[in-house]
């Protein structure tokens, strides 16, 4: 084993918040969460809606602080906004008044990278995702898939060692999703950051991840961890034909179904239609 610190470490993390100012009960979103993401590892967080997966990403990004416990990035406690990680949100969050290339250059601009190098690095990644020719288009002139590609390369262009992704392909149609999953795998293999990837899509989680962490219903705790040993690079388009896929999928689905079942279990006396 190497002696280097894990890229991300959660140690007995709790997160409670009050939904409204006068709400009677605080909500416990996360309970005793401990896990690590190793350098270069692609880790997916799956679980029922509202189980605190996205909160985990916000904790690593420093947008919110844990109520108890410790969140570390490269061995250092996260306190305040963490600009050393990349964050790709569910909405593309492109700036509507900036062209595609202007959006992709943003992080480099904030880091004081000189303009010619900014242009070169942005163009290189824009090329990888096939958007050359659209550099000077504004976000409203691009399709949903193009905007999503833009938001991914915008984050990868400044080379952070950890990238957080919150259901990045959620709003896309099924075909575009698979194509973008394959593109993400390629992009990830170029620089191999650690990825924390929140998703509801178990196929997507298996296709992309080295490890999958299953969360329980709120308050989110870790139910189980799965190692995904499918060889890389993976054929995303035929991932379900890969040996070992079905067993893993069935095991994951059984876990998730148990959680969904628990959330929607009929109360005593309630009639089941």
């Amino acid at each position: 084993m190497s002696t280097s610190a894990p890229a991300v470490r959660f140690q007995s993390v709790y997160k409670a918040f009050i939904a409204r100012e006068r709400a009677a009960q605080p909500i416990l979103a996360l309970e005793d969460i401990s896990f690590v993401a190793n350098p270069g590892e692609f880790v997916s967080l799956v679980g029922p809606s509202g189980c605190g997966k996205s909160t985990c990403l916000n904790l690593v990004a420093g947008l919110t602080a844990p109520s108890a416990g410790l969140v570390e990035h490269q061995g250092a406690r996260v306190s305040g906004v963490n600009t050393k990680v990349g964050y790709i949100t569910q909405d593309d969050n492109l700036l509507p008044w900036r062209s595609l290339v202007g959006n992709v250059e943003l992080g480099l601009e904030f880091r004081g990278v000189p303009a010619p190098e900014r242009r070169r690095r942005a163009r290189e990644l824009i090329d990888v995702v096939g958007l050359i020719g659209f550099e000077h288009h504004y976000p409203h002139e691009l399709s949903g898939g193009m905007r999503k590609r833009a938001s991914i390369v915008r984050t990868l262009v400044y080379d952070t060692d950890v990238v957080l992704m919150d259901e990045p392909f959620g709003p896309l149609d099924a075909q575009t999703r698979v194509i973008l999953q394959a593109e993400l795998q390629n992009l990830w293999q170029r620089s191999r950051p650690s990825v924390l990837f929140v998703t509801h899509d178990l196929v997507e989680a298996i296709a992309l991840s080295d490890r999958i962490i299953v969360f329980t219903n709120r308050p989110g705790t870790i139910k189980r961890e799965y190692r995904v040993d499918l060889p890389r690079p993976r054929d995303i388009f035929h991932i379900h034909e890969t040996p070992g896929f079905s067993d893993l999928y069935d095991a994951l689905w059984a876990d998730i179904r148990a959680e969904i079942g628990a959330a929607h279990a009929p109360v005593a006396g309630e009639r089941i239609a």
């Binding site: 990349g86 969050n93 509507p96 008044w97 904030f110």
Partner: protein
């Protein structure tokens, strides 16, 4: 062969669609002109049958009055006076409104502390201050400038604050994680996002600045378009009163068109439709 056929179909469809659009537009234009001309004709020839024309004048008399006022130079002189007051007051109001909003937004809790006082200030009908301003600042242009500025300031201020506060939180968060500091966030995200709201406020307040200045002129003045209307009213010269009103409205309309054009130029994303 088939490509040619498809091309012909497309050309035909495009042609038909263009013709439909053009026809629709022609109907709307004809309607606009027709309504205006109809109203003027009614006023000129039929309104006198219902109301004594001494009280309402006629479009032709008003036009004659405008020409006469233009000929003896008083129209230009008074319009210049008013336009000067309006422009200075407007710029002061916009400047203070913008600067104040940005300062408060950069501070912590500043807006919350001042908010009740600002709302109280907003509740004052500024027009009611006109006599007071005249007492303080005399008969010259100063009270007109101050009232115009007051009419503008709050609208620009509140729209800048509201525009910046309405910016999508997650957009701001993403940019902060990307490494933007506070001032950078303001420059790169908050101001551009709020720009359409700010620009709209800046556009609509020109008419309010005009209201402020003219009103102050009506109270007490020796020049300006408001003075022109007031003088005509004392002479019971209905046509000249209307002439002043028409000139005031025309100035506001022209300036609005200019500002709206500048707005479309500066903030193309605000008017652009968002595609899937």
């Amino acid at each position: 062969m088939t490509a040619d056929a498809a091309g012909a179909v497309v050309a035909g469809a495009v042609d038909r669609q263009r013709r439909t659009v053009r026809a629709d537009r022609a109907i709307v234009s004809a309607g606009i002109v027709g309504l205006g001309v109809g109203a003027l004709l009614f006023w000129q020839f039929a309104l006198g049958l219902i109301i004594d024309t001494r009280y309402v004048s006629t479009p032709l008399e008003i036009a004659r009055s405008i020409v006469a006022l233009a000929a003896d130079g008083s129209l230009l002189r008074n319009a210049q006076a008013t336009l000067g007051e309006v422009t200075i007051g407007y710029l002061i109001g916009v400047g203070i409104g913008l600067a104040g909003a940005l300062l408060l937004l950069m501070s912590t809790g500043g807006y919350e502390i001042l908010e009740p006082y600002l709302l109280a200030f907003y509740s004052i009908p500024k027009i009611a201050l006109a006599p007071l301003l005249t007492m303080w600042f005399g008969l010259g242009p100063t009270p007109k400038v101050v009232l115009a500025a007051l009419m503008v300031f709050f609208i620009v201020f509140i729209n800048t604050v509201a525009g910046v506060r309405a910016v999508d939180r997650s957009l701001v968060d993403v940019v902060r994680v990307m490494g933007a500091r506070r001032l950078t966030t303001l420059r790169v995200v908050l101001l551009p996002a709020a720009a359409p709201a700010i620009a709209a406020a800046i556009r609509v307040t020109f008419a309010r600045a005009m209201v402020g200045a003219v009103l102050a002129e009506l109270i007490a003045s020796s020049e300006g378009l408001g003075y022109l209307v007031m003088r005509a009213s004392r002479q019971f010269d209905i046509a000249s009163m209307f002439a002043g009103v028409v000139v005031i409205a025309s100035i506001v309309m022209v300036v609005n068109l200019v500002i709206a054009a500048a707005e479309r130029r500066l903030f193309p994303w605000a008017s652009g439709t968002v595609h899937g």
